[in-house]
Amino acid sequence: MVAARLRLTRTQRRTITFYLFISPWLLGFILLTIIPLIVGFLISLTNYEGLSVINLHFVGTDNYVRAFNSDADARFSLGRTLMWGVYNLPAWLILSFVMALILNQNIKGHGFFRTLYYLTSVVPIVAAITAWKVILDKNFGWLNGFLSIFRPGTAIGWLSDYALQGMTMIAVWTGLGAGMVIFLAGLQNIPDELVEAARIDGANSWQVFRYVTLPLMTPIIFLQLILGLIGVFRQLDLPLVLTQVGLARGAVPPRQIYLYMMHVYRQIFISNRWGYAFSLIWLLFIGVAILTLVVFYTEKYWVYTERPEEGS
């Protein structure tokens, strides 16, 4: 055994060491991602209902056909998810970037404010939503109570009539800190000499931002965009917690925030259509993968990268 080990070349030993180091992650990835994906795909080809396998049947692509042909709610929830993305993603990206720009200034107490704004991301989502519900409730919420001082009887349904906008507000508020920190890290990596050079060349603040800061931040924006995009399609906890006391009592979210993952959740936990739900998840997986590839394709048109020049 020792002799065999001695016969290994340095490269071989390094290779083995490399694989030993990554093996915990690799094992986890295979066991917790790859295998569930495969099992999920197999289940999506069956009528599995989550309780019994006695009458489990292979149904081929029936579940996938159903998603396209006869499930209006699946299409509706996809539409709502896209709308959620339209509202949430730009708002979150822009606001957290602007916040990072502000807190990147050398102002007094900037450390305190950075911590303060990041706190929104530390608050547990359930607690945050509960607090927001107290503020935004239609009849007894603080906001409508305040507005009723000026217009008695004001009852704006922030979480029902304007559920999508209300949820966006909560999501941006809770996600602002995390987004800001990443942008801030990016901003602090911009070399001072580039900004100073631009200043010497006569650039004003807007021009420094437009021609120096923004281009150098595009890799971070790209990363945030990809992560945010995936997050949009995976969103479940916000509508779930906003939905009264949860689905256990048969509660349903307002139609405006009936997102795709809510529809999937409903198929599994309300309707026991596990096979069908897995087909919806796989369709989502494929859709998000395609969308991500499209965004990656656009990278070369707008993301600044420092690549070695040819021939160098």
Partner: protein, 466 residues
């Protein structure tokens, strides 16, 4: 050696079962009976258990239940009183784990359920006939069982109420009684409804209109509350007054638009929502549920069972609550329980004899006595009824009202074995919101609910019947 070829269908079934089972089993703890030696080792932590008993059922019993109803302290107490039997607790907030365990063939031995789930479990062959255990028990005597336990008796999935016994209620309530908040009536200049008179649903709606307080668009006092997660059960009971059912005889269809009485019921609840007399999807409860609105003093009437008396009086409502009889829809007094929360044993229980010991203890011994004395429901055994608290005036009034409701001995509602517990209400709320917003008509709402529910029935029926 057999040369029989496996069909594609069987291969997929086998592969799916093996793969699914393997993965799902990973989520589930294996409910293998613990050897006595292991029990003895565990028992060394407690002086009383230094020697493993040699008689009686022993081993590990996996219980899927509510942590507030089966607490760690209770489990410790049980284990000290029953050396050789351990309880492995799984919180019911993990329904996916329950599903995984059932699918993997290692279900919990004892499962907390509500009555609407019983027909579906029976249809899938998931629960064990406990008749022999009941017949032999000196703790849970058949003639001591409250009629609400009939939800756990069945001749078939579509015939509940008589036959073999598959479980029993932990406690229950006749669920259609109404709690009235006196102050809301006083503020509206109205007398509080007389608890000795049975109201009709129509009268309650009129009262709700009179007592509700709406300022501009804001609702400051809701008129009437009901558990909208149980809307189908409420309709089923109202229809039963007329000898009608929400479903076809074979439970393969829900009948809404084709039955004038069901349409009237839908209209009744639609109007309550439209007029903002009851919380609804467009104007949701500020407290997450109507019961919370009542205890906050912003709801005049709440339709809940006797169990609600344990929490109806809060700082906001103390001394201001009265319990009314269940209203009638068509003049026929009925007041069944519609949840009948209880316990069943899995057909594939790994350790049924030990599980029965736990079952008996939980439903007929100290935990049952404690529950009865807590006032959070009517005990499942007649012999424990008098333990229900009757100290305060409110408790005495509620107990008197309760006795009148129990005297009705309303037979159980027959739930649909092909329908999930909240499938109907999910569709109702989804469609109701759209109807209230005017994106669909009332008739379209009914049609959509029928379509949703019938699709779900067809899906489940296909799975159950193969």
């Amino acid at each position: 050696m057999s040369t029989k070829k496996i069909s594609r269908r069987n291969f997929i079934k086998l592969a799916g079962t093996v793969a699914g089972g393997a993965v799902l089993a990973g989520c589930a703890k294996t409910a293998v009976e613990t050897p006595v030696a292991t029990q003895a080792a565990v028992a060394t932590q407690k002086p009383i258990q230094t020697q493993a008993p040699t008689k009686g059922p022993q081993g590990n019993v996996v219980v899927f239940h509510d942590v507030k109803e089966l607490t760690p302290e209770m489990i410790t107490q049980f284990e000290s009183e029953h050396p050789g039997i351990t309880i492995e607790f799984i919180d019911r907030t993990e329904p996916a784990r329950l599903n995984a365990m059932i699918a993997a063939g290692t279900p919990p031995d004892l499962i907390r359920v509500q009555a609407p789930a019983i027909p579906g479990y029976l249809a899938r062959g998931l629960i064990k006939d406990l008749t022999p255990y009941f017949e032999a028990s000196s703790v849970l005597k058949l003639d001591d069982l409250m009629p609400a336990n009939n939800y756990y008796k069945a001749e078939s999935p579509t015939k509940i109420g008589t036959g073999k016994i598959y479980g029993m209620v932990k406690d229950f309530s006749p669920d259609f009684t109404v709690f009235a908040y006196k102050k809301a009536f006083e503020d509206a200049g109205l007398p509080t409804p007389d608890p000795s008179k049975t109201p009709t649903y129509a009268e309650l709606a009129e009262l709700a209109k009179s007592v509700a307080k709406i300022e501009g668009d804001r609702v400051l006092m809701w008129g009437y509350g009901y558990e909208d997660g149980w809307i189908d059960r409420i309709w089923m009971n109202a229809l039963a007054e007329l000898g009608q059912s929400l479903y076809s005889d074979d439970f393969s269809k829900v009948i809404i638009s084709g039955n004038d009485e069901t349409r009237k019921l839908a209209q009744y609840y639609y109007d309550l929502a439209k007029e903002n007399l009851a919380v609804n999807p467009v104007n949701p409860s500020p407290n997450g549920w109507a019961g919370g609105d009542f205890t906050a003093g912003i709801l005049a009437m709440m339709q809940y069972g006797f169990w609600f008396s344990a929490m109806a009086e809060t700082d906001a409502t103390r001394g201001q609550v009265v319990m009314l009889p269940a209203p009638t829809w068509a003049g026929q007094r009925r007041d069944p329980t519609m949840t009948a929360t209880g316990m069943v044993m899995a057909e594939k229980s790994q350790n049924p004899d030990a599980a029965w010991i736990v079952f008996e203890w939980f439903n007929g011994e100290q935990p049952a006595l404690d529950r009865a004395a807590s006032g959070w429901g009517v005990p499942g055994l007649k012999s424990m009824l008098e333990l229900v608290p009757q100290e305060t005036d409110f408790q005495k009034q509620c107990f008197e009202a309760l006795k009148n409701e129990l005297a009705l001995e309303t037979p159980p509602l027959q739930f649909n074995p092909y329908l999930g517990e909240t499938e109907f209400t999910n569709s109702w709320k989804t469609q109701l919101e759209q109807a209230l917003r005017g994106t669909i008509t009332f008739d379209q709402m009914l049609t959509n609910i029928e379509n949703d529910v019938n699709t779900a029935i067809a899906d489940n029926k296909a799975v159950i019947e193969g």
